[in-house]
């Protein structure tokens, strides 16, 4: 071997300790010895890989977050958070910055998609009963991430400083003011004043690019860590463990290396057939999902431009002024009753979500879609989701000036 090649081998080995694994031992070592991969188990349940188990929703949400961080950092090179220059700097993205529109479109659509993906991910976990012990806490972390996602989207909404942004935030923050006692204070400290202005823009900017992403990254780390520690994806065996003749009993934790690789235990070569090595079976699917997610975001970004209306004009409110779509259900509720719709209902829903795993403790229907035994829980959840969807549709299409009912086809122009 020539010296150059040997040197290269040394460098390569120092970075990738295992290299491309060729044995089962290597496959396991590859996963545990790499910082980026070690959050994965060495082996995963074969049925967890079936697309219909999870539709990859959690991972898609994570990928969207990563796309958002990267595109967001790139946007930060151009954006100026001042009321005089914010709008022009966003306009200039399309006028003079190479691929600037594409970047902004990616960020915008990835943000919208992330709200959708995280809701679907929560629905998946709920409908599979996967929030039950030992995953109660991780469900709570997930609810926190959901709220963070909404808040991240909301704070980002103001930054372009156009009419859409200005009035959506004006409406959104006035919903916050309905909370008894702390409402006005929340609104005031969020805006840095009584109306949306320079102080609000700066606060939203700092929240959007530093505080909330940092919190989200921390919580995502905890969330992923807990997935591993809580035994990976929920599966039906958790309520009725089945062990086939001659097989090793399924490991308590999916990262129990001894149960997987060649060793001197009586079970060598007879490890649970339900499991396959994460390398390459899980990894290729993960990369595939990223390619797919990024493709969809790019596709949207190429064909649909993110909206940018006129410069924000505090003396000319649009009628109706609507909050961002993910808060429209809330706005519709507030239109009916400020206190009930703006405080009681959303507060109760969030509280119910967090407390849910501690209240619903029956060990049935875990890891199965729409388990018959869980018809009441699943039914309730779907009904609430449906109700929110209907409210959102009403607020989006059926509300005209002064929040009066209009038929979308009658509105004309």
């Amino acid at each position: 071997m020539n010296p150059f090649r040997r040197f290269w081998q040394t460098v390569y080995r120092s970075v990738f300790r295992v290299g491309i694994p060729k044995t089962n031992l290597g496959r396991a070592q590859a996963m545990v010895s790499s910082f980026l991969l070690h959050l994965h188990p060495a082996k995963v349940r074969r049925d967890s890989l079936r697309p219909t188990r999870t539709f990859g929703l959690g991972l898609i949400t994570l990928y969207l977050f990563i796309i958002l961080v990267v595109s967001g950092v790139l946007l930060m090179f151009h954006y100026v958070p001042s009321v005089e220059r914010a709008y022009d700097s966003v306009r200039d993205l399309s006028f003079v910055v190479t691929a600037g529109v594409l970047l902004r479109n990616c960020h915008r659509w990835a943000a919208h998609l992330m709200v959708v993906a995280i809701v679907l991910h929560m629905a998946r976990v709920f409908l599979m009963g996967a929030y039950k012990a030992p995953r109660q806490f991780n469900w709570g972390v997930g609810v926190g991430l959901f709220l963070l996602t909404l808040f991240l989207s909301f704070t980002g909404y103001l930054l372009p400083w156009d009419q859409l942004a200005f009035w959506a935030i004006t409406v959104g923050t006035s919903i916050a003011a309905y909370a008894p006692g702390v409402g006005e204070l929340t609104r005031f400290s969020l805006l840095g004043g009584n109306i949306v202005g320079q102080a609000s823009l700066l606060r939203f900017y700092v929240l959007h690019v530093v505080v909330l992403p940092a919190a989200a990254i921390l919580m995502i780390a905890v969330h992923l860590y807990r997935i591993r520690k809580d035994g990976g994806l929920a599966h039906p065996d958790e309520d009725q463990p089945t062990v086939e003749e001659g097989e090793a009993p399924p490991p308590q934790k999916s990262y129990g290396l001894m149960a997987l690789t060649e060793s001197s235990t009586p079970y060598v070569g007879r490890d649970p057939g339900k499991e396959v090595f994460a390398w390459p079976h899980l990894l290729i699917r993960e990369v595939l999902l990223f390619v797919g997610t990024f493709s969809v975001v790019l596709l949207l970004a190429i064909f649909f431009d993110a909206p940018l209306e006129e410069l924000a004009n505090p003396i000319h409110p649009p009628n109706p002024a609507k909050a961002p779509w993910y808060f429209l259900a809330l706005q519709e509720l507030v239109a009916h009753s400020a206190f009930l719709g703006g405080v009681i209902i959303p507060g109760a829903l969030v509280l119910a979500l967090i407390l849910l795993p501690y209240l619903d403790r029956r060990r049935v229907g875990i890891g199965r879609w729409f388990a018959r035994e869980r018809w009441l829980a699943n039914g309730t959840f779907l009904l609430v989701l449906l109700a929110l969807a209907i409210l959102t549709v009403i607020a989006t299409f059926f509300r005209g000036p002064n929040w009066d009912w209009v038929w979308p086809w009658a509105a004309g122009g």
């Binding site: 060729k22 044995t23 089962n24 074969r46 890989l49 005089e84 022009d88 306009r91 200039d92 006028f95 003079v96 190479t98 691929a99 600037g100 529109v101 594409l102 156009d162 009419q163 057939g273 396959v276 390459p280 079976h281 290729i284 699917r285 990369v287 595939l288 390619v291 797919g292 990024f294 493709s295 790019l298 596709l299 970004a301 190429i302 940018l308 209306e309 006129e310 004009n313 003396i315 000319h316």
Partner: protein
């Protein structure tokens, strides 16, 4: 080499799906960048370069033309808060050899009045200066409310910086400003912070939802054409007057101006001089036509006694030319000093006076228009605006004959207090919708006198009365 011991049931890897998706992603990335690559301004610059090469007469000229860089160009004017990239496509604007060339390469005449290196383009022409495609730059796109003004309306932009009454280059705009007061628009509409509240606030309107020149023209010719239920009467403006008013409205979409540009807003004119002469109270010390103080010398023919240079120096810094003078230093700018001299020349020629002295009837007429009386009592005070179920024939009464029914004192009271409750024609009928407000809080005693004089002057002369 150890063989890979995979159980026979090892699932298959989704390599085909993976390959297809990866291919799709690559195509999308390429498509994304292609979408960005072809910027419209590039093709204009390329055709301009070709044109330059074709026009080159020597080898050297053609070589220079070929080396012309393809690059975005912009004029940044911090004081106007504009970034104008128009010259990225309009490449012949500063080259007189392109006079008569078609757009986008045509030469811009009168380059030296407002050199665009200093002023940019949009301050006069409007449009979206930052944009780099023709459609967006010309501004006729959604969410841009200052599209380019048609050439015929560019005069409006003069009003963004200059007072139209000082500006001989914007006669139609000046006419619009005059007409606005004369026709009494301010009686109902608020503009520049003051005016009546009956009709839409024009400051708000102009800053909120600016109207297009076409809309404004139509509005002045016949309000009902653009606002079907408009209460504004048809004033019968001529097309020229409608255009003048349109220019005035467009001129109020002014950009923020500061620094150098603000200092240049004073135009040198006798009118400016007269305004300064009155505003600074020169008459307190100097006499003109026998009126004024006697501390300083009379100024009727000062322009024949002093040179222009001396006068400018005197206005700029009195003590520099007359040590020990009591004349205060007014800190006049060069342009203001020249304006004062222009004014004093006209005084010498007796073609201008310090004050206008209109008759009481004329002052009353101006008040009648300014306070919007015409909105209800009709353009010629002949009444006729419908007022359902009012005792005066279901319309707002004519004022032509008030001299018969009221003494001066009675008439002043009536204007002061108004008619809070209009008598009904049918006692059981509905309340008449229009009632006259009292103007006592807005008019001084002297103004009331003027108004009454005007109203009395409406009474037809003896020989016009046909009983």
């Amino acid at each position: 080499m150890a063989s890979l011991k995979s159980p026979p049931t090892e699932p298959r890897l989704p390599t085909l799906t993976f390959a297809l998706l990866a291919l799709a992603l690559m195509v999308l990335v390429v498509a994304g960048f292609l979408r960005e690559e072809r910027r419209e301004w590039r093709s204009y610059q390329e055709s301009f370069r070709d044109l330059e090469i074709a026009r080159g007469t020597t080898v050297e000229e053609r070589r220079q033309a070929r080396e012309r860089p393809i690059e975005l160009a912009q004029i940044v004017v911090p004081e106007l808060d504009t970034v104008d990239r128009c010259i990225s496509c309009h490449l012949g604007v500063d080259d007189a050899t392109y006079a008569g060339a078609g757009q986008p390469f045509a030469y811009h005449p009168d380059h030296d009045v407002h050199p665009f290196e200093r002023f940019g383009c949009t301050v006069c022409h409007a449009g979206q200066g930052r944009a780099t495609s023709a459609r967006e730059a010309h501004g006729d796109v959604p969410f841009w409310d200052r599209p380019m003004l048609p050439l015929d309306f560019v005069e409006a932009s003069c009003g963004g910086c200059h007072d139209p009454s000082d500006n001989p280059a914007a006669p139609r705009l000046a006419r619009g400003a005059e007409l606005f007061e004369e026709a009494g628009c301010r009686g109902c509409h608020r503009l520049d912070g003051w005016g009546g509240g009956l009709a839409p606030d024009l400051d708000r309107q102009i800053n909120g939802r600016p109207r297009s020149p076409e809309w404004l023209m139509q509005h002045f010719l016949d309000p009902a054409q653009v606002v079907p239920d408009s209460a504004m009467p048809r004033y019968g403006f001529s097309p020229d007057d409608a255009k003048a008013l349109t220019l005035l409205m467009l001129s109020r979409r002014r950009p923020e101006v500061s620094g150098y540009h603000a200092s240049r807003r004073i135009l040198e004119s006798a009118e400016t001089g007269r305004r300064l002469f009155r505003a600074k109270g020169c008459i307190g010390c100097h006499q003109i036509s026998g009126a004024g103080g006697e501390v300083g010398p009379p100024l009727d023919h000062v322009v024949t006694r002093r040179t222009e240079g001396w006068l400018v120096a005197h206005f700029r810094e009195p003590r520099a030319v007359t040590p020990g003078t009591v004349m205060p230093d007014f800190d006049f700018t060069e342009a203001e000093a020249h304006s004062l001299i222009l004014f004093l020349r006209r005084i010498h020629e007796r073609t201008i006076t310090v004050l206008d002295e209109p008759s009481p009837e004329r002052r009353g007429e101006i008040l009648f228009k300014r306070y919007g009386c015409r909105g209800c009592h009709g353009v010629d005070a002949t009444g006729g605006v419908p007022n359902r179920n009012s005792e005066s024939g279901e319309q707002v009464p004519s004022l032509i004959y008030v001299k018969e029914g009221y003494t001066r004192a009675e008439l002043k009271d009536r204007i002061r207090i108004g008619v809070p409750k209009v008598g009904k024609l049918e006692p059981d009928g509905p309340e008449p919708p229009l009632a006259m407000p009292g103007f006592g809080d807005r008019l001084t005693e002297g103004q009331l006198d003027d108004l009454v004089s005007y109203l009395h002057s409406l009474y037809p002369a003896e020989d016009e009365l046909d009983w």
